[in-house]
């Protein structure tokens, strides 16, 4: 099987799975779950195979498929792997079976529709990452809202309607401005050389004026920043997370938020490098504010899910910080941090779901001393907490360390030239690790330590299935913490290209 074919299969497996699901009777929930599991495991296998086949150090796209879709506009069905999306695709495929396995017992209503939605989400998320054509990207980007909307709205908590509408309308507002920018770009590319094109590769070569770039970047950035989310555009996130079912939270935190940072990485900054350089102080500031603001908010929450939701705001601040360092360390760190956050936050949400399933409460005040009641649960929770804090040997450390090192590395030369704000921001970001420990350990202490109590007596510890899920996650967390080099090698070329694209603009500015 050729790799390009496998890539297409990877993308469309969930669609095939979804159609097969439709054929199953609603009452056979076990069959539905089994089928979904098989399909997503197959997808994971494909993703892993493609990851292994992916060649490090080769510039450009790999395993490319490019077919005309709307020829009159130059829109293509164009998908490929590159260093930027490779890990995210792997992460998405990795979390798929975990989500399904995690929902074995918690989803009993509309099982078929639920798994259909999981498939739909997998499809759209993978599509977003794989797309190499702006139009296609937008289609997937926006389509992703639909299954997520339903997932929160149907299987969510009490205020699910509010949360899901807020999620949809908030993100759609960003998207609509991005759409405006895309339409503008489409028409610009048309008038530039006559052959219409939406291919990223062509768009990178545009060379627009700084003013236009700034406006377009503002539109793109708004959309991406909402999805990341960066303060002050984050308020949809806690509501969505709190109300979403566990699976929704896992997908949301695990992959969906990365679409925002991926957007910046793949599109926002490299498409408009001059504007990106102009906006760097702003984005850097917002990134650091996100780190601190999220950490502060996470500290004063009593809803476990909200704590983790706000921690996502904080953690993705690191990703954003890494992206605007424009050096290899920071960018590579940001990529790793994305994956790490996906695993860690996803895992934590799963664990919250497991305890919620048992006790039907997410209020910290209801819990204490779970380490006594649920030892295995507590071990996993502790490991994931530590990974969230960024303790060395976990994936969180790899990401944060490289990001912060990169930030400092790019800030110091500027400091020596008399520009001190990057250094101040980088230092503040480093202080963020203290704040991170503050709220995560508060969570761990309140939940795991202290006098043993829980709303429900006679709690079962983790089942084998749950241990399996968490075990796999934790292994991945440690793998990235201990041996990140393989990942780094595969992404390095793309990160370098990203960096060069933006630095070329800076050099051009110097010449001017």
């Amino acid at each position: 099987m050729s790799e390009a074919l496998a890539l297409n299969l990877l993308l469309f497996l969930p669609v095939i799975g979804g159609v097969l699901l439709l054929a199953l009777p609603e009452r056979r929930a076990d069959l539905v779950r089994g089928l979904a599991m098989v399909v997503l495991l197959a997808q994971l296998a494909l993703a892993a195979w493609l990851y292994l086949r992916f060649q490090a150090g080769v510039p450009g796209l790999q395993f490319e498929t490019r077919l005309p879709w709307i020829p009159a506009w130059g829109v293509h069905y164009h998908i490929a792997l590159d260093g930027l999306n490779l890990l995210l695709v792997l992460l998405t495929a990795f979390l798929g079976p975990i989500v399904v396995a995690g929902a074995f017992t918690s989803i009993t209503k509309d099982v078929k529709l639920f798994h259909g939605m999981v498939m739909f989400i997998q499809f759209t998320m993978l599509g977003t990452f794989l797309a190499q054509d702006l139009f296609l990207f937008y289609v997937f980007w926006e389509a992703m809202l639909i299954p997520m909307f339903l997932m929160i709205g149907i299987w969510g908590g009490e205020r699910r309607i509010y949360a899901t509408l807020k999620f949809f309308l908030y993100t759609a507002f960003g998207s609509i401005l991005m759409l405006a920018a895309i339409i503008y770009l489409a028409h610009t590319v048309l008038s530039a050389d006559g052959t219409p094109s939406f291919a990223f590769a062509d768009l990178y070569e545009l060379g627009l004026g700084v003013q236009v770039q700034t406006l377009l970047l503002a539109a793109f950035a708004l959309s991406f920043a909402i999805k990341v989310p960066m303060v002050p555009l984050h308020t949809w996130l806690p509501d969505a997370h709190v109300e979403a079912p566990t699976a929704g939270s896992v997908i949301l935190a695990g992959v969906l938020l990365k679409m925002g940072t991926y957007g910046f990485l793949k599109l926002g900054f490299p498409l408009f490098p001059d504007a990106a350089l102009l906006a760097t102080p702003l984005i850097m500031t917002l990134a650091v504010i996100s780190i601190i603001y999220g950490a502060g908010l996470a500290l004063v929450q009593d809803d476990i899910k909200k704590i983790i939701a706000y921690s996502s705001v904080s953690h993705l601040g690191y990703v954003m910080l890494g992206l605007v360092t424009y050096n290899l360390l920071g960018v590579q760190g940001a990529i790793i941090q994305m994956v790490s956050h996906g695993l860690v936050a996803g895992g934590l949400f799963l664990m919250v779901g497991m305890i919620y399933e048992r006790c039907h409460s997410r209020d910290l005040a209801d819990y204490g001393g779970l380490a006594k009641l649920l030892p295995a649960y507590s071990v996993f929770f502790m490991i994931l907490t530590l990974a969230a804090i960024g303790l060395p040997t976990t994936s969180g450390f790899t990401g944060e360390f490289l990001v912060l090192l990169g930030a400092f590395h790019s800030a110091w030369p500027q400091f020596e030239q008399g520009v001190s704000y990057p250094l101040v921001l980088a230092s503040l970001a480093v202080l963020g690790i203290v704040l991170g420990a503050l709220y995560m350990l508060r969570l761990a202490r309140r939940l795991l330590f202290g006098e043993a109590r829980a709303p429900v007596a006679g709690l079962r510890d983790l089942s084998l299935r749950e241990m399996g899920i968490l075990g796999v996650l934790v292994l991945a967390v440690f793998y990235i913490g201990l041996f990140p080099n393989d990942f780094l090698q595969k992404t390095e070329q793309a990160a370098m290209e990203y960096q060069e694209r933006i630095l070329a603009a800076r050099d051009g500015e110097v010449e001017r």
């Binding site: 709307i70 829109v75 529709l113 289609v139 997937f140 339903l150 503008y184």
Partner: protein, 460 residues
């Protein structure tokens, strides 16, 4: 003018006429009421096929020079509108299709055909009236409900005002340019005198009234609510499409002057905001679609802002998509008492009673909202690209933001179907038979347009 030219150029219209006559004759000779579905369907399909065929062979002809001519665009538009009527027939059959309804429908369609081939304002006016007059009757024909007469009355009076306004505009055109041909109108568009300006704005206003653009929209919600489902579907899609396609034909390769441009920007924008906002609170499905159609009229009129060569493609594609998705939604509405099935409340928990219908309505709603991957997105993209290509970047951005306002109202329908608990007593049943067939037909078309928009765009 050769006879065969006369015959061929207006072949679709002739077929429609033939169909009307056939139904009339059957009705006359038969001693009991006959089901006119099959003849009507055959007629519409034949007319659409003829239009499509003529379009494919690249037929160009002008049997009545200066009055009636057909070209590629006109034939494509006719084919689209006629094909879109097919689900209307199915819907009508699912409710109540007697020969009167069938004949009125075909007659109205005949008017649309004339309008789309009109080369003079005279013909245009004639076509428009032929399109509208049967509609008043069609609205009232759902007279199992008292509101239908009220709806028809409002539609009739305001439609009459529209007719008068259009005539005044035509008259002023005549006074300003000395002729009634479309070229004369285009000259008036370019002219800068008192009469010409009044002429163009009155004509445009009349078209806006027929297409329900704010502030000439007031009849639409009431008329839609009062009419039966198939008639509403017909009004919301085919009539609206025909009117705007006719206007596009009328404008031809001319552009609006700055003053008219301002009107063409402001009123559609107002329409989008108004329609989208007002629809948020609606409790009736048809009323919701009415307001949504007011907003969509705004998008459609935006196409006129673009460069002449792109307008037709944009509008036609939009009409196809918008028409199909509306039909899809209407076709999936559950069966039951008319006023009950119209209430949004009866959609609550629909997913559990009829998952297929719920999913299809959701698809339709999302497409109307312009969310990809559904074809409504491509249509929206096309319209706003047209606007942006004309250099009106700000207008396009504002328009897109206005279209954002509309997302909520469609989401609300989905929310009702999927996320609300089922009402204690359900008075409606899943759609079956003809409605379900219509749903399947439109779904296939929606999927085709959604997955391969390039094919459709290439054909246009």
């Amino acid at each position: 003018m050769t006879p065969e030219g006369l015959f061929v150029a207006a072949l679709p219209e002739h077929l429609l006429l033939l169909g009307i006559l056939a139904i009339l004759v059957i009705d006359l000779v038969s001693d009991r009421p006959r089901d006119p579905f099959l003849p009507a369907l055959v007629t519409v399909l034949a007319a659409a096929g003829a239009a499509f065929w003529l379009h494919r062979i690249g037929y160009v002809g002008a049997p009545f020079p200066g009055q009636f001519s057909v070209g590629s665009d006109a034939l494509a538009a006719k084919a689209v509108l006629f094909v879109l009527t097919v689900p209307v027939l199915f819907l009508a059959r699912a409710e109540r299709l007697d020969s009167r309804v069938a004949m009125l429908l075909l007659a109205s369609l005949y008017g649309a055909g004339l309008m789309l081939s009109a080369d003079s304002l005279l013909m245009l006016f004639f076509g428009l009236e032929l399109l509208s007059l049967p509609l008043y009757a069609l609205v009232v024909l759902a007279f199992r409900r008292p509101e239908s007469a009220e709806a028809a009355m409002k539609y009739l009076v305001l439609g009459g005002v529209g007719t008068a306004v259009l005539l005044m505009g035509i008259s002023l055109t005549l006074g300003s340019t000395g002729g009634l041909s479309v070229e004369d109108f285009r000259a008036a568009l370019a002219a800068d005198d008192f009469l010409a300006r009044g002429a163009v704005v009155l004509v445009v206003a009349a078209f806006m009234l027929k297409a329900a653009v704010v502030p000439f929209h007031a009849w639409a919600p009431d008329a839609y609510e009062g009419a039966s489902v198939p008639v509403t579907a017909y009004m919301a899609t085919i009539v609206k499409g025909a009117v705007i396609l006719a206007l596009v034909r009328l404008f031809g390769d001319a552009g609006a002057g700055p003053e008219l441009l301002a009107v063409l920007v402001a009123l559609p924008l107002l329409s989008m905001v108004w329609g989208n906002l007002a629809a948020m609170r609606q409790q009736g499905f048809r009323r919701l679609i009415a307001y949504s159609s007011i907003a969509h009229a705004g998008y459609l009129f935006f196409a006129l802002l673009g460069a002449p060569e792109g307008r037709f493609e944009a509008v036609t594609f939009y009409v196809i998509v918008y028409g199909l998705t509306n039909m899809l939604a209407f076709a999936c509405l559950p069966k039951g008492e008319d006023w009950l099935r119209d209430r949004l409340d009866s959609l609550k928990g629909l997913y559990h009673r009829d998952p297929r219908a719920a999913i299809l309505i959701a698809v339709a709603m999302l497409s109307l909202a312009g969310i990809p991957p559904f074809p409504g997105f491509v249509a929206k993209f096309l319209i706003f690209r047209t606007v942006m290509e004309a250099g009106l970047v700000t207008v396009a951005v504002v328009g897109l933001v206005a279209s954002y306002l509309g997302i909520y109202l469609y989401l609300r329908v989905i929310q009702y179907m999927f996320m609300s608990p089922e009402p204690a007593r359900v008075h409606t049943q899943p759609a079956t038979g003809f409605a379900a067939t219509a749903a399947l037909l439109t779904l296939a078309a929606v999927l085709l347009v959604g997955v391969f928009p390039g094919v459709v765009l290439g054909w246009l």
